[in-house]
């Protein structure tokens, strides 16, 4: 087995330090796709407005998915929209993260039973990193979701895929 084939399970000092810096860079500059769906999008806008200020955490909206790191699914995903969201997700460059904001995006929310045109949970289409509950979640809740995502990124390792 060659040197490079070996899995670095233990992680030596060089790799961990480099990894910390890389993770720090990723978690401190999460650019979001400026993309809103429904009611939650208004709360998302409120979160990036002056009172709550997403920019404190380094989150700025980018209009193009090519330059974004996170996509906040803010609102009800309908069947007509789901395919577009999937494509949007595919247009983003790796590493990319998803915050599912609000009950509708988590599981269909109040539309779970009779919503003939509502996708019951965005996780049926794309993988989700953080779920933020609420209908709609308060900006504080979204901020907490972001902090949870940062925590997740901080513990990522380039040596071994975390489960």
């Amino acid at each position: 087995m060659g040197f490079l084939d070996k899995e670095f399970n233990d992680g030596n000092i060089v790799i961990t330090t480099a990894e910390d810096i890389m993770n720090w860079a990723r978690l401190s500059s999460l650019w979001q796709v400026s993309f809103g769906l429904a009611c939650c999008a208004i709360e998302m806008m409120a979160t990036s407005a002056s009172h709550y200020d997403f920019d404190r955490f380094g989150v700025i909206p980018r209009p193009s998915p090519r330059q974004a790191d996170i996509i906040i699914i803010s609102g009800t995903v309908t069947l007509k929209m789901a395919t577009r969201i999937k494509r949007l997700y595919e247009q983003m460059p790796e590493p990319k993260y998803i915050i599912s904001m609000g009950s509708c995006a988590n599981c269909g929310g109040p539309y779970w039973e009779h919503g003939y045109h509502v996708l019951k949970g965005i996780d049926r289409v794309i993988p989700v990193d953080v779920y933020v509950p609420g209908c709609p979640p308060r900006p504080e809740a979204l901020l907490e979701g972001l902090l949870k995502l940062q925590e997740k990124i901080r513990n990522e390792s380039m040596i071994k895929k975390s489960a």
Binding site: L79, A82, C107, G108, W112, Y116, H117
Partner: protein, 162 residues
């Protein structure tokens, strides 16, 4: 400003051979019943007549009356200059609902009619662009607001029910 009875009388006088009917026994709103083929003609009259001047279509809504095996369309029209309003109603067969479009009278009817088509499958003849509007263009499972509508299990590989 005219009352429903006066409007109805005016219609009756101008369209003597039509099967018109005024219903005021409902709890709230007086309704004029009209045959589905005549709605455009009568609408044009209501729009043009100087005593009526119904220049605005407020709402067009389809209702599935499943017990009577009918599908009805309600037209809420209003005159912004004379400030009176009236409700028109046409009923058509549920199995093959067809109503004449009123887009030539009120342009605002365009999307309302498309929505009624989308939700109830009412075919508006003479409509310029009768496509689905809210549901995807390739939706094949029928018309969602009909009372006997059943949702499909999958749409484009996505599971629809919870």
């Amino acid at each position: 400003m005219k009352k429903a009875e006066e409007i109805f009388q005016l219609l009756k006088d101008n369209f003597p051979d039509q099967n018109l009917e005024l219903k005021t026994d409902q709890p709230t709103e007086p309704v004029i019943l009209i045959a589905p083929d005549e709605i455009e003609k009568i609408s044009l009259f209501l729009y043009k007549n100087t005593e009526l001047l119904f220049d605005s279509l407020v709402l067009l809504s389809g209702v599935d009356e499943v017990k009577a095996n009918l599908i009805s369309v309600y037209y809420h029209i209003e005159s912004t200059s004379l400030k009176h309003k009236i409700v028109l109603k046409v009923s058509t067969d549920r199995n093959n609902p067809e109503v004449v479009s009123v887009t030539s009278v009120w342009k605002g009817a365009d999307w309302h009619e498309r929505e009624a088509y989308d939700m109830f499958g009412i075919k508006f003849t003479n409509h310029p662009d009768l496509r689905r509007i809210l549901m995807p263009y390739d939706w094949e499972a029928g018309y969602p607001l009909r009372k006997d509508y059943e949702n499909p299990e999958f749409y484009q590989g996505m599971k629809v029910p919870y």
